[in-house]
């Protein structure tokens, strides 16, 4: 899989990473530049960190144990559409509209892709 090098990962930051050095992740690949390309790197790391917030209300990985709707297993396209509707007040909510407005359209895609990829991993 081709790794997405996104704009936030600037040259200056890569040198910072090199400083840190050590890697404890068991890795099948010999190539140092891909050594850290574990599962989490397959999608933009921003997706994960944006998505971690969702679990506090919707359950870990979107698996709800309470009355708030869970969304584990939903596709990226479904989640993107739902979040965009919340953001644009096209879908009724108590608090989701207020949350969705806090994310750019790009961030919404990243969140949707992150949870979409979790669902795919689980269905393998």
């Amino acid at each position: 899989m081709v790794k997405k090098i996104t704009s936030w990962l600037s040259v200056g930051i890569i040198s910072a990473a090199a400083l840190v050095g050590c890697n404890s992740q068991p890795s099948g690949t010999q190539e140092p530049s891909q050594q850290s390309a574990a599962e989490s790197e397959e999608v933009d790391p921003r997706g994960q960190i944006l998505a971690l917030s969702c679990a506090s209300c919707h359950g870990t990985d979107g698996k709800s144990v309470g009355i708030i709707p869970g969304f584990h297993g939903k596709s990226a396209s479904y989640l993107k559409a739902a979040l965009m509707e919340f953001k644009n007040d096209e879908r009724y909510s108590t608090v989701m509209g207020r949350h969705a407005k806090g994310y750019t359209d790009e961030e919404i895609v990243l969140i949707a892709e992150y949870f979409g990829s979790l669902s795919q991993q689980n269905s393998k």
Binding site: S10, G12, S36, Q48, S56, G59, T60, K101, G102
Partner: protein, 430 residues
């Protein structure tokens, strides 16, 4: 409006974090095994338990040790529901069994007494010394008992509970409310800013009023506030009028609310406008950083802990991350939700640093539900981002339940408040 936060700004902050990590990796700490990295987490509340669980979840090869004195942790969120008779203590009890048995976190029930930042070690009350590559400190708050004349830890434990750390204090206040004579008043004295859970005292007043209305109809709640305004004030005030009429009276600091001393023997509090007598007096003292953070020199002149906003690594001691109520986290309130959000961001940052990768820009959230009545919920939410001004809440997002929300929405919010508790507890301790 805040300035644009450039990639250059971000890399500067990351470089600061990376310098710390270099120290922590090569600074003399001895991991458990040659290649295994070790994170110690001090404090098993919303912040610390979230960090411990998510480090293991994101990279199970990292050894995580959680130090927490309590074997059963009672959450402050929902403890007001216990006071109001809507929940029992067992409903707000969390344990560490799942973190231990399912997620592989080593849990030590002991108290951290000393942090040696230079040697990367933590000493426990029981004598054990833990070495770490990175340390997460999530100690919450301590109370400044001396700030109010006549008040003390002993008074809190016997006559005038604060009930602002859940557990025996919650049980004491609940018992006092049950035993109080009909016709006596409940006095609630919230502290000045900053304090944990800004809407907490006002949700408490609401649920106590709900209890009094049914059980002691001749009693009232009087809030003696040191402040001039409070969290979700408009929504609370409207809800109080609708549900309880004049059963709750709020006095601002300038209107005789500010208390100057307490007299436990006579069950009175002294204000600028004279003494106020109560059947139950709930004094919530001013708050300060948890002791271990102060002792470890992690605080600045504000009394709280300055941190790098990407990694929550201390700007004073590299290799130590401070999260939750103890940290200075820009616009974020001191809340359980915020602490958990910070715990997860910190976990993700630590994992990436330990894997030799750059931490992702942080994304932080807070959502805070309060009950005005059993079927009447209100909320405030915020999404935060990093700018050159630090962590700020994103304009146009978040905010309060609308003032004109209809009964259906208020009822839904009350239902979602319960759902929120179930999921966040599961996300942290489950």
């Amino acid at each position: 409006m805040s300035q644009k936060f450039t990639r250059r700004d971000f890399s500067k902050l990351v470089m600061a974090g990376a310098a710390g990590s270099t120290l922590s990796l090569f600074g003399g700490a001895k991991p458990l095994f040659a290649n295994q990295k070790h994170v110690v987490v001090v404090g098993g509340g919303f912040g610390g338990a979230s960090a411990a669980k998510y480090i293991k979840k994101l990279d199970s090869s990292i050894a995580v040790t959680l130090v927490e004195p309590l074997t059963t942790y009672y959450t402050c969120p929902f403890s007001n529901w216990v006071l109001g008779g809507l929940k029992e203590m067992k409903d707000i009890a969390q344990t560490y069994d799942v973190l231990k048995n399912t997620h592989g976190v080593e849990v030590i029930h002991d108290t951290a007494t000393e942090i040696d930042a230079a040697n990367h070690s933590v000493t426990l009350k029981g004598g054990k010394v833990l070495k770490y590559d990175r340390l997460v400190v999530s100690p919450g708050i301590d109370f400044d008992y001396d700030a109010i004349e006549g008040y003390s830890e002993e008074v809190a434990n016997t006559v005038m509970p604060h009930a602002y750390k859940a557990g025996p204090q919650t049980e004491l206040l609940a018992k006092q409310l049950q035993e109080m004579k009909d016709g006596d008043n409940v006095i609630i004295c919230p502290p000045g800013n900053p304090f944990r859970c800004p809407p907490g005292p006002y949700e408490r007043a609401s649920l106590v009023a709900n209890y009094l209305k049914k059980n002691k109809p001749n009693s009232k709640v009087i809030i003696l506030d040191t402040k001039e305004k409070f969290s979700k004030q408009g929504l609370f005030t409207k809800g109080w009028e609708r549900l309880y009429g004049d059963l709750i009276e709020w006095r601002a600091g300038s209107a005789g609310g500010k208390i100057v001393s307490v007299d436990p023997a006579n069950m009175t509090v002294q204000t600028a406008n004279g003494p106020v007598k109560g059947g139950v007096i709930n004094v919530i003292p001013p708050q300060k950083v948890g002791k271990i953070a102060l002792d470890a020199g992690l605080t600045n002149e504000s009394g709280w802990c300055p941190v790098n906003p990407i990694t929550f690594e201390s700007t004073i001691h590299p290799g130590i991350h401070v999260i939750g109520d103890a940290s200075i986290a820009g616009a974020m309130p001191k809340s359980g939700f915020a602490a958990s959000s910070q715990g997860k961001v910190t976990a993700a940052s630590i994992v990436r640093l330990m894997q030799g990768m750059v931490p992702a820009p942080p994304s932080l959230v807070n959502t805070c539900y309060s009950l005005v009545g059993p079927g009447y919920g209100i909320s405030v939410a915020a999404v935060y981002k990093l700018t050159s001004d630090g962590i700020v809440s994103i304009k146009g997002a978040g905010g309060l339940t609308p003032m004109d929300a209809d009964d259906d929405q208020l009822s839904e919010e009350a239902t979602y408040a319960r759902g929120w508790y179930n999921n966040i507890a599961q996300d942290i301790w489950g």
